[in-house]
Each structure stands twice: as structure tokens, then as C-alpha cells.
Amino acid sequence: MPTILAAQAGTISGKVVHEGTGAGVPAVQVSIPALKVSTLTAADGSFTLAGVRPGNYELHIIRIGFRATDVPVEVRAGQILTPEVKITEAAMALDEIVVTGTAGQARRREVGNSISQVQISDVKQPVQNLDQMLQGRTAGVVIPTGRADMGSGSAIRLRGNASLSLTSYPLIYVDGIRQTAEAYSSNNLVPNANTGTRQGGQASLLADIDPATIDRVEIVKGPAATALYGTEAAAGVIQIFTKKGVTGRTVWTFQTDQGVRAVRPWGSQPGTYYGSPGRPAGIPLPSSPGSAAIAAGTPTQACIRLADQPLIDAGLADGLAISGCHRPYHDMDPYLHKPWRQRYTLSVAGGSDAVRYFTSASGEGGDGILPLDNDLRYQFRSNVSFHPTEKLNIDISSAYSRYKYSFTGSNNGTSSLYFQVVRRPLNGPSSYDYRILDSILTQRNNVRNDRMILGATATWTPLSGMTHKLTLGYDDARSEENYLLPFNYITDRPGRISLEKSGSRSFSTDYVLSQQISLFTGLKSTLSAGGQLVQRDEDALALEGAGLPGPGEHTVSSASTFPSQAPVIARQRVITGGFLFQNMFAFKDRYFLTVGARVDGNSAFGENLGLQTYPKASASYVISDEPFWPGALGTMKLRAAYGLAGRAPGAFDAIKTWTPTLWTGGGGTAFIPRNPGNPDLAPERSREIEVGADAAVLNERLTVDFSYYDRVTSDALLQIARAPSLGNTNQQLENVGKFYNKGVELGVTGKILESAKLGIELNATLATNKSKVLEVGTATVNNVQVGQPAPVVRATKVKNMYDFVDPVFEPDSNNFYGPNLPTQTITLAPTFRFPKQVTLTLRGEYQAGHWITQGAAHFLAQRGPYGTPSCDEVYRYVPWAEYDGPPVYGPSARINTHQNIDKVNAVDRARCYRSILQSNLFTWPADFFKVREITLQAPLPFRLPRMQTAMITISGRNLFTKVSKRNRSNDPDIGNSVENLTFSFTDAVPAPAEFTVSIRATF
């Protein structure tokens, strides 16, 4: 490395470039440790350190993903040094610091479990939230795209479900501060809320974290890594690290995203018939009886309304046949918008040796897919770091977000647009005249979510090798929801109004002491010990009234009656506290052994239960550091980890209680039994063994990250029904279940082509998950069955599915179909790098092996009036209204007289006509492939004054979906709400595709 000469009080103004490509590398930390000065490189790799005292120094260059580099410099007074420092990518950065799952912090080489990391700098695609940022990037992480309705969040699964009855959402930490909850309005304090006027999805608290403020995310997926988080960590931990300021000049960053959303067709398509396997593919569509032959895709009768003639109602009396119809949007066409969305972010980062800061503000909003959908989100974050003394560092962070949105009713309810348009129930407009259907849209559903996170971390290093770290956190999430069905509403003439307020606050205190000791030559010990205390307070208020005095603006107090529930005002507190210790032994810096444990108490445990212990042990072996390891084989680390973590029951689950119910008709409050009580109630305990290896070979052009995990959850909580004759039909949670999840995770990154002008990199992941329920005690839960996956899809089955006769049903109404969560997930993400910093990234995700049930299709087929789009191909043979199926119900059931019924197989006869027996015949394989990302990024061709860098990104998300041929008419990626344990189709529109143009510039 050449020595660079300079003179008195000089300046270092250089550039950090990629060794292979020669391109400038942004966000590289450049520091002079001796002077405690540092800065970050700009987007073009340039940096400046001004006012450097003359002398000889080491210029320390670090960036995650690159090898640390030290450059000697000699600074002379009045001179400007202009070094160009080349850095090389480190495919496997063994000395990179990680913190999640360890007490204190550790180098990656010391950690015995897998830690996935997502760097925001690696995410080229403009993302609106963390769900999008993590989706399809890490093996073992499943995040459905969700639904189109405004405000709906997604469930997150790490290695399948971690519980049979509680949520499987991972613990979320933001800069060491524990997130208060998983979703808004998620506490169970208002048991009957949302049954009246509200029909919508659940908003995720993760959406409050502005992706523009995220630096990186660490993910640990199971108890082998999360034992030190204790009672709540069985489902894994996601830790978000936000951006910090760095010493040096002030850098302003401005970004705007402009985009449009559009729903892709998810319903029945023209000209296809794949409903009756056994028939040759591509047979001509038959004639509808009594009418002329219908060409594929020709809209007829009911389909006319789809052809932009929304006012036609004539001739569509109940029972009229539909023929040759296809409903790619389930008749929702007139209501599906293509909204324009905007997002603006401005941040500033900088600081001095004494104080560093990062501040960001963003605003986002626009209309949604559905007619009433609209939102506006503001987010602010500020991080400040300072050194009161040389040995003390204090980080203070604050964040606030407000999310206001309106949505169109969805789900299975009378104020749901989808329900009314697609299912045409009698308790609604029940019309094909869209002028009448439009009357549904006089409803109002307004939500406001406010979130504030405050945190402070003090890190004190009184002695070499000793660190005390104290973190205080406060997280407050509040939601106010106002719903109105106005006076003279079409499904509720008196009108209905409700107000729901819910809040969730967490106070958390974490303290960890770490002490490193050299025991003898080559052997070091790092002891960490500490404790954590988390107090979570929840409150809720729900009021609903009916009978409004007339048109106009109202509050709930304007209502004349309280029809569906008495006012609810509730609050509860849960306290979790634990003590943890960990000792890591390091020998020759390549053999590592870590042992530790956490001991927890929790206010929700049964009174007979004491503290719970969660032990952990892990080992790491950097075999490539052995003398015998041939250098040509690259770098390799072997690892193994074992640990336990828990999942706590709810605040009231252990206690025998009664519910005071306001019973106006009975003249006052009535006590009715609530929880039977279980003084022995304990947390679920998940034990996980994980083994794996990380390797970088072929001159680090290929990196491989492999893990095998085996997680067994015992004492799993399941609701146990008691004999109704014992008086209380409410079920009681008991620790009776046991199940396992096991699988492999493989992440591969290969540099297929790397040159100064062109580059091709391929990222691929493969994850499998096999689960099986081992014990359930006396619990009777339909989707939790011994010997079957957890959860399982069980449904009615037709014995002679593909015979062209009437259906013969299996005698049991619950037959095994398969797991409800994907058993295989594969992602492929090639990135192409072209000259002039132009990159193209593609990302596809394939999920397979699971099944999903579509209840809405059943209701459509059963109650009509026009059958379900899932059967449109079948209706071309035999119209919905012309066949009642086997004579099961009612005197009006007709026997198979239709001339074309012999062209419809047994399962389709059972599914598609009104006499079907059970709701579960619409159970489909949920396999799908989705193009998650197509992103083109390039420098802007022009620069404004003082603009340092400017990039333009054009990106598409979820542009293409391919589903199983046996899955007719829905998008399995619709998933379910944030906290749901299962995936299922609901009365909702799938999430739209998105097309976004983004410009990001620094000044």
C-alpha cells in the first residue's frame, strides 16, 4: 500500500472505489481512529476529512459487505490529499458486528446460529414498508403480499408457525427497543368489536417504520438464536437498525417515489377450461342449451355488465342462467381504480466528533384501489449520538408517525363492497345495477394510527474489555377508528355509527454487562449478564350506536340504540421480566463456544408457575482459518446452535373470571361465566437445534449459507373445550400441544460475471418447512390434528372427483388436503450491471406445497344468484341455475336432467351448484410464482446545483403471478391478516401490482 504524503493542518479529499468495477462506493465509513474523526462517502464514493492535524495516520475504511482496509497517510499542513482507495467485497464478512440474538454484540465468526441481514443499500427497489423490504429476500421468511384494501398489513412467518393458537409474528426490535404489538387494534380487550360497521383488514405496526430511515435489518429465525429474548421469542426476532449520523459534512438526501397501482386479473379467464381433469385439454367450448354456440371469451348476459355497461339490470332476474361468462375481476371491475401514489422523503445526516445526528421526514399518500380508499402518512425520525465523556456514548432516538386512511368495507359483512358486489346477498342492494350498488359507498371508514417511539441507549466502557449497556425504550401505538353507515343506508336504514380507540404502550428496560477476559494464550472469555423488564399496557374503548336522527355529521352519542354491543372500556397490563447471562469462549479466534440462559417471569403465567428458564448453547468453527485448509477452498465457517424460547399466554388466560354484561332487557348487569381458569398455565416452550455452514468459494465469487433446523414446541397452548354441562362453554387454554417444524435454508450468491463494465450477480434462496403435530391432548381444533402439518387444511372431499357422475362424498367432512403454509419457497434474483452505473434487478418468488380454502366461493355457489367465478368454465357446460345437483336439500332439488351434465365431473358438480353440502370444497393448491421485482436503476442524466448524486429507479412489483392450474380464480398470495395463524381467501381484492418511478438525490 503506497504511503501518501501531505503537509500541515491538511485535508484529505479522496474517493473510495470498488476494486472490481472501479465505481465509487457510497456509505463507506472513512475514519482516522487516532483522531476520532470519521465521515461517510457520498454516493459517488467521494469523501472529505478537513482540518486534520499534521502527522502520520491510518485511514480506516469500513463498510458492511466489504473487507476492512487501512491506508497509511501522512498529512502535512496546507496540503490536500486526494487518495483513491480501492476496497474489495467480502463475500463472507466474518468480522462484521451483529447484535441480534447475542448478549451485547459479537463478530459474525463468533456466532453459532444463522443471522440473516438485509442492507437497505442493497435494496434497489423503492419500498413503502418493511414488509416489502423483506419479502422474498431471505430464506425462511414468508410474507404474503396481502390484500388491496387500504391499511392492511401482512403476516410474517419465520420458519412456519411457532404456535398452534397464539400469533406467530416475530418479536420486533427497533434500535434495541421492543415494539409494543404486532398490529393496530390487536389487543383482545374488545371481543365483539369490528362486528358491526367495520369490515376491513388489520394495519401492521411495522408499517410505521419509515424504510428510508432503515440502515439494516437483522433476522434470527428461531429459539436456537433467540433464547436470550425469553418468553416472547419463539417465533424469531427481527431487529431494525435505523440510520445514524456520521462525523463530517452535512448530507441532505431527497427522494420521491411516484407510482401507480393496478390489480391484475385474479378471477376466471376467457377461453380456458381446466376444471375437469380427465378431459382432453382444449376441447371446444360446448353450446349452452337453448342458445347459439358461445365462443371463448364472448361476454353474454351477465358478462355484459363487465363490458363497461354497468347500468344493465334488465333480464337478470334471479335464477337466470349465465353462460360463457368470465369474471376476471369477480365483477368488481367498475370499482377497481388505478391510483397514483406519491412519496417524499427528506433526510439530513452529519455531525462532529462530539455530536452526530440523523433526521428524516417523509410523507406518503394517495388513493387506493377501491373507491373509498385513501391514505396519508407522515413519518419523522431523529437519531442523535454524543459522547459526554470519552468512555460514555449515548444514543437517543425518537420517531413519530401518523397514518390516516379511509377504506372500503371488505370481508364477509353487509357493509363490504366485495361482499355486496360479488355475492349479491339478499340483505343488500342485491342488484346488478351499479347505480344501486353505488349506494354501498356512502359508508365511511376512517382510521388514524399514531405511533411514537422514544429510546435512549447509554454505552459505558469504563475499562478495556468491559462494556455496560443500558437501553430504555418507550413505544406508544394508538388507533382511532370511526365507522359510519349513514342514516338511510341501504343495508341499515336507521344508520349505524361506531368509534373504537385502542392503545398499546410498552416501557422496556434492558441492561447488559459484557466483560472480555484473556484466560491464557489463545483463549478468551466474554461474559455477559443483564436483565430486561417490559411492561405492556393496553387499553380499548368501543362504542357502537344505531338509529341516527337523520342525515348529517354525528357522533355515537347521536344514536338512539346500542344494537350489537354494550360500550366497552377496558385496559390490561402484562409484565415480563428476565435475567440473562452468556459466556462466549474463543480459542485461537476460530473455535467459539457460547453458553447462556434466560430466566423469565410473566404476569400472565398461572399462579402455580414459577420462573421459566430458557438455556442456549452454540458453537462456531472457522475451519478455513486452520493451517491445513487450502486457500483455494475459500472461507468456511461451521456452526451449530441449540436454544429454547417461549410464547406467553394472554393476560387473563390463567384466571377464572366472569364477564359483567350489560343486559338492558334484563334490567341491568348480568354476570356470565368467562374464563374457566388454569392456575398451571405456562408459556409454550420451543426447542430448536440448528446446524449449518457459511462458505465463500471460487475466490469469493460464490457464497453459500446453509442451515438445517429442527424446532419442537412443547406445552403448546390449545383451547380445550369443557363439557357444556359443566356450565361454561368458553374454552380454556391449556399446555397440551406438541409439534415440530424442520427444514433447510439455503442462500446462494454468485458473481457470474464481474468486470469493470458488466456484471451479473445471482442471488437465490431455497427454504423448506415441514411441520407435524405430535400431541393435542383433548383439544379439538379443525386445523390442528395429530400426525398432520401445523396448521393443516382439512375439508370435504369428493371420492370420485374426476368421474363424470354425481359426487360421492367422503363420510367425514374434514379430510386431509395438506399444509396451510408453504413447504417450499424458492427465490431467484439476478442483478445485471451495465456501464454508467445502470443496474437491472429481477426478483421472483415461488411458494409451493400448501393449500388454501376459499369460503367466499362456496357461498357464491350455494346462494348465488349467479354462481361463483371459480366455476365459470363449468357453467359454460351447465349454467348455474339449470342444475341443482344431487337431491340433497329441499323439494326443489332437481335430478340430473341437464343435457350437458355428463360433461361436468363429480367435484365440479359438487362445487358449482347450489345444493353443495359443505363450505370446504373450494380448497385449492396454493402454489404460485410471482415476479416480486423488476427494477432498473441509473444515474440521472442531469445534475442540479450542489447535487452530489442523483439516481432514478423504475420499478415494478408483483407484475405477474402464475398459480396452480387446479387453483381457479384467486391469488393465493392474499394471505391473511397480520396476526392470523392461517392463510385463507376472504371477501377481499388481492393486493395490486405496483409501478414506481423514484428519484433519489444527495446534496
Binding site: 344494537p563 404476569s603 354484561t661 332487557g665 334484563g666 354476570f671 363439557a723 367432512s813 336439500y889
Partner: protein, 448 residues
Amino acid sequence: MHKRISVLVAGAALLVGACSFDVTNPGPVADEALDQAGAWDALVRGARYNISRATSIDAFYGAVAAKEYSTSGRINATKLPLVFGQLSVDDVNANTWNWSQAARWQAEDGQRRLREVLGSGFATNKYAAQILMYGALANRILGENFCEAVIDGSAKKPINEYFTRAEAQATEAIAIAGAVGASEVSTQRAAYAIRASARLYLGNFAGAGNDATTANVPTSFSLSAPFDLTTRNLFVDTNDFAVGGNFRASTVWRTFFESYFRTTGDLRVRWDSSTVNGKARDGEFTGIPWLYQRKYIPTGTNADYGSPIRLVSGREMRLVQAELALRAGDFTTAEGLINGIRAGQAVRAGSPALTSWTITNVQEGWNALRRERSIELWLEGRTMGDLRRWIADGTYAAQFTNGPDSDVADRVRMCLPISRGERQTNSNLQLDPDDPQSPIYNGQAAPW
């Protein structure tokens, strides 16, 4: 250094150990709180609340079996077996059993609690009288509507177990209400009426006669199950008349009451077929006219959800007296009692006053009694029990010719089944081999 670390670790452990995880959250009420006298008003009301729920659902699902109603839809509809047999557990809402048992359990658990807390004061406590009366009533409801008895997770017992318990609890309620005095006269009257009904099932006709006197239960007396917009009278809810009409599960079509109301206008069995939300419609089953009851739908508004269902009445006691007269061969007294009930009964505007039944012998008396009870107690959850009782003691075969329920008793066992939940969770019950998982699947039964 090691010492310092040890001290810190020990300190941290001590800190956590010293943490209190005891949290008392408001909202759900701890069981111990119900031992306090201030909670008893709500405790008794809870027993009554469960009786309301049980009455509504039992009456609704039993109405088709008793042919007070016919099925016209598939949601919330009762389906009768094609061949003689029991109503399927798959076709009868499990809450018939669950809520009825909850009503019995809560009243009897309340009795236990009050006995423990009050000691000797139990015998003069008004809440004791009330909760005993509700316990008796809950047992009568179970006995009249279900096929077998199960008490607190026991094995199956004969149905008379319920009536025996009803009789015992009513007897104690009568005594305690009497000791309390004037404030519990209604409780005492209700207890007499409940005991009279229970004694009919137990074959204690003399005892029933002693209870059913005008002195004990005046003709004007009644006790009803109240409802409101929260609990809702299921007859109103399921028909969805007031809020839109959707499932249309039940119709008066082709029942005795269709023609009886048409010809007499007797408002006790009022039904309607006019428009619902502007659309006069068939039932959900194509071709079945939806004639919906108006007994519990007086206004056609949300207020109808609060329509009460009668549980106990002096008018019923007069019919009990009529039955006892017939059992004694005294059809003349029975004629007077039965026609006394009809006298002055309100009729539809424009209809002539109700005519009296002419009874010239015992058999005519039985048929008139059966008809009048079915009219008087229409949709109150009583008729199915009456039929079962008369079938069991031979009256049905010996006395009845044609009646409001002409062919139903040949089609179905006149009782609701033990729920599948009870069968699955009660280790003292075995799943009967002939208890269908679903008779629809195996083809042995159909709902029509």
C-alpha cells in the same frame, strides 16, 4: 475484576427476582368477587340471562320438529330426518344444548355459592329464592326440550332427572319466597307454575293440580324471558325481518297455524306474507312461500329484537287444570277452562271473535286441549315437550286424531339432541354408534 462481575450479576439477578409480576387487571371479574352480596343481583340476572338465551334457541330449533314452523331455508334451519329418528346433532345448533346447560349450571352454581356464603340465612334470602326458581325453570326447559339428561359432566340419565331437580328447586323456592314475603310473590307464583309443569312430566298429577290453582298462579300472571338488541329474540333475528331479511329459514306455510290464522285471525298465531324490504319473496328454497311469524314482530323495527318469550303463565296453568280434568274424565270442566282461555282473545281487525270449542266427550276434550295449548304456547318452546309427554304416556295414541302437528310425531323423536361438543368432551358419554356424524352424508336421512 471477577469479584466485581459476580457482584453485578448477583445484583441483576436480585433485581429481576425482586420484580413483582402480580398484576390485577380490571374488566373480567374474579370468581371470588361473586361471593360478595353486592354481586348477587348481577349473579341472579346472569342466570336469567342464560335462560333467555336458552329459551329463544330451544324454541326456534324445536319449532320445526313440533311443526309450529316449516323449514324454508338452509341456514339456521332445522332439518327433519326422512325416516323416524332423532334430530341430527349436525342440524340442530349446538347452542340449544350449550345455553340450556349454562342456564341450569349457573343457577345451580349460584345456589351452591349462596348456600356457602349465607349459611342459615339462605332460607330467608330473596336472591336464594330467585336463583332457585331460575334453576327450576332451567331444568324444566331442559326436560321439555331434550332427549336425555346430563348433569355436570355425568353419564346420561333419564329425562326425568331434570324434572326431579326442577320440582325440588321450585319447592325450596316456594318456601323461601314465602319466608321473604310480599316482595317475592312473583317468584313464588312462577315457582308454583314451574313445579306444576314438572309434576305433569313426573306423573304427579295431584301435585300438579295443587300447584296450578288460580290462587297459586292467577290467570293474569306471567313471567317472560326478556331480550334486547344485544341478546335478541332469535325468531326475530333469524328471520332478519327487521334488518333486511336474508336467510328466511322458517315459514308458517303448510302448518296448522297457516290456515288457523287465515280463518280465525287469532293474533296469538299471527303471521304475515307482505313485503320485506320491498321484495315479496319466496323462501330460500325456491317455491316455498315465506310466511313469517308476527308474534314476535309487532312493529317491523329493530325494537322487535326485544320481544319477550313467555316462560310461565297463569293461562298455561288453566290449561294444565284442563288437562288434569280430562285425565279425570271431566270434559265439561276442561271445556270451560279451554274456552275461558279463548274468551276475549284479540283477533285480526275485521275478523269475528273467536268461537268456543264444543267438547262432547273426553277425546274431543283432548284434541281441543292439544290444539289450544299449541295455539296458546306457539313458538314458546313448549309444544315439542307436550307431544313427547303425551306420546310417552299413551295419550297421543289413544286420544288424538288430527291436530296441529298431525304427522310430525311420526317423523321425529320430539326432543333436541345432546350436542356433539358434550359427546366429545364428556368422558362419561360414549359416542353412540347410531349417532350420525352426519345423516346427510351416509344417506340415511335428509332434511326434508
